[in-house]
């Protein structure tokens, strides 16, 4: 009875044929029938699920990472463009909900490995204003440093177990002061072009500072010795989060994931070949991700359709594929005085937080995608 029914169905519909072909190679010996699964081309939720699975399978089986990334970003649809440096009000709450990030105020606790080191290993937390050594890029949001003041310097424990060599703060201070003086005082430059103040002094100062500090500290941190410094790199990331119904157009009424893209240009970026250790374990609960019921376009956020790029600053073949630090310069039109004049003092910090969340999320997520 069952045999006759199966054969008749085989004659009547070509759809069944296509399924037998796909199921033929791994044919379990105890079942004579092809697996009965939903159709792949019907206008139904099951078919949509099946198409999604087929897509995932295609991506997983792709030969190289570039191929996977190409398939991932192949379909172009209108997406929200996220700008890390934005003047939107309460942007950091929105960004936290888009990127599923929890905000923990203050610097991250010392890495767990440091606690195990010998007591001689010192990890001073200096907060001197001219200091700005390379810090760990945390998963939780960290305010990005503006051009002239750096919030703190955390020396993570990359030192060998045992006595730590003395960190010459005076030397660091003099290097930082020299860089600052050269850019602002000693070198005679023309007057800055209109609205290009950032390129004139803080930009070159930051570049000088970071390069000299990296060179000075590379003896203590072997990662820095193998690092790669990028000037004005490009960082892009594309992801889906949540669902919405398509409002108008020929695809009206369908349920689509909400697409986001970040295109960021940090001032400076250090990439290293090894991953930085995680600060808190994966499953720890540090707080809640805010849930916002409104559409992202209320932020305001605008949609555009263009190429879906995933890029960390260099292509997949680069051995320095993990990130160490990013340095951002806050542009002039987002400076403090403007916010203070408009009575929006609390938004100043929101700006820094949103910048950090968006840029670092894009960078770390793109690095993760580069791993396969």
């Amino acid at each position: 009875m069952a045999a006759r029914r199966g054969r008749r169905l085989l004659w009547h519909g070509r759809r069944w044929f296509s399924q037998t072909e796909s199921a033929v190679p791994p044919q379990p010996p105890d079942s004579l029938y092809p697996p009965i699964v939903a159709s792949a081309t019907a206008k139904s939720k099951a078919a949509k699920r099946r198409r999604l699975e087929h897509f995932y399978q295609r991506v997983h089986e792709a030969g190289s990472i570039e191929e996977k990334l190409r398939l991932y970003g192949q379909l172009q649809r209108p997406k929200y463009m996220l700008y890390p440096q934005t003047f939107a009000l309460n942007a950091d709450r929105w960004y936290r909900s888009f990127t599923k990030t929890v905000f923990v105020p203050g610097l991250p606790p010392r890495a767990a490995s440091a606690a195990v080191k010998a007591p001689g290993a010192a990890a001073p937390e200096a907060a001197k204003t001219p200091e700005g050594a390379a810090g760990v890029a945390p998963e939780a949001a960290e305010a990005a440093a503006p051009g002239t003041a750096a919030p703190g310097a955390v020396k993570t424990a990359e030192l060998a177990a045992g006595a730590a060599p003395y960190l010459d703060m005076d030397e660091l201070r003099s290097l930082a002061c020299d860089a600052l003086l050269q850019e602002s005082f000693y070198q005679n430059k023309k007057r800055p072009f209109l609205y290009r103040d950032q390129d004139h002094t803080p930009g070159p100062f930051l570049t000088q500072l970071v390069s000299t500090l990296a060179a000075f500290l590379c003896g203590r941190n072997p990662l820095l010795a193998a690092s790669s410094l990028d000037l004005k790199p490009e960082v892009n990331y594309y992801w889906h989060h949540g669902e919405e119904v398509v409002v108008h157009g020929h695809r009206k009424g369908r349920v689509d994931p909400v697409r986001f893209q970040i295109d960021d240009n940090p001032h400076l970026q250090i990439r290293v070949p090894k991953q930085l250790p995680e600060i808190v374990p994966l499953e720890s609960d540090l707080g809640d991700v805010p849930v916002i019921d409104h559409k992202p376009s209320k932020l305001p956020l605008f949609k555009k359709q263009y190429e879906n790029k995933v890029f960390i600053g260099s292509k997949v073949a680069d051995p320095c594929c993990y990130g160490h630090t990013q340095f951002h310069l806050i542009p002039d039109k987002l400076k403090r005085q403007r916010f203070v004049r408009m009575n929006l003092e609390d938004q100043i910090e929101v700006l820094y937080r949103a910048n950090g969340i968006a840029s670092l999320f894009a960078w770390t997520a793109a690095q993760a995608m580069y791993q396969g």
Binding site: E171, L175, D178, A179, Q182, F185, Y186, Q187, N188, K189, P204, Q208, S211, T212, A214, A215, F216, C218, G219, L224, A225, A226, S228, L229, D230, L231, P233, E234, N236, K309, F311, G313, S314, K315, A317, D318, P319, C320
Partner: protein, 315 residues
Amino acid sequence: LFQGVRQAQWLTKTKLVEGLPPSVLGIVDNPAHQLEDHEEGVKRAISHARLWDTTEVAPRREHYCPVLFEDLMHLCRLMSMKYPSLTKRMLARNYKISATWERETILLQVRGLNGILMNSVAPIPPVASKEEILATEQHVLETFYPISPTIDLQEVKVYKELNDTGKSRSFRDGYPYSHPHTLFFLESANIRPNRFRPEQLRAKMLMFAFGNALAKAKVLYGNDPKVLEQPVVVQSVGTDGQLFQFMVFQLNTTDLVSSDGIKNLVWIDSDQNLYEKAQCVPEVKKKVVTKPAGIYGFQPDTFKKFLALYLHGTV
């Protein structure tokens, strides 16, 4: 400059020596500096600049030339692990220079934005010995009669004879990194006619190195033309992303009006290729990959010379 280096030589009263001076070559050959370990790093730097740094398939020269320069400088700076006095160097970008001198009744001036300068706290010790300097007296500067030596130079009415290089005016007094060490020239225009040809690039390097050295000498020894007991040495590196020109210039005299007497010296090592070809996309003929993507013809010596010039003066 029309005649290239020859014309620049006449204008700056310089004698040319092929190849790099023995002190720099000594650093290159010295195995104690372990210049070989950096081969891997240099290859990575070239690949990064030429292949990996952009979302497009192949980066343009405007993009990869400065990136390559930055990467090589980063590699050189990491050497300060071994030589702590290397941290006493500072790069100055967008740096302006102007220097004036007279040359057989023709007033010449070097001015303008000229690339990136690296300054150091300590000067480079003189490269040539006293005998070599005295021997330049016999050397006769070649002239190219009937072509005037000022051909292809822009004639400008000079109202103020300025002699500030980075030192006194472009950099204020009391600047700790007061000695010009090396000048870097990046020819990074995309279109070939916009770039300097190697010969002209060498001439430009010579002129600007001379300008820097002259201004420094005038600051140290005053404006009177005379022979310097302690010659001023300035180095210069020019590149277009693939070809490197290395130059060491030693200013022996500021007496430039006459064509006799002691001359200045310059050592030039020209047309050093860092790599032959950077293949961005694998070359495929008839569906078979004949040339996979990568860097071909890598020559480690060029980077060794670059590093030696960087370390010169502190090692």
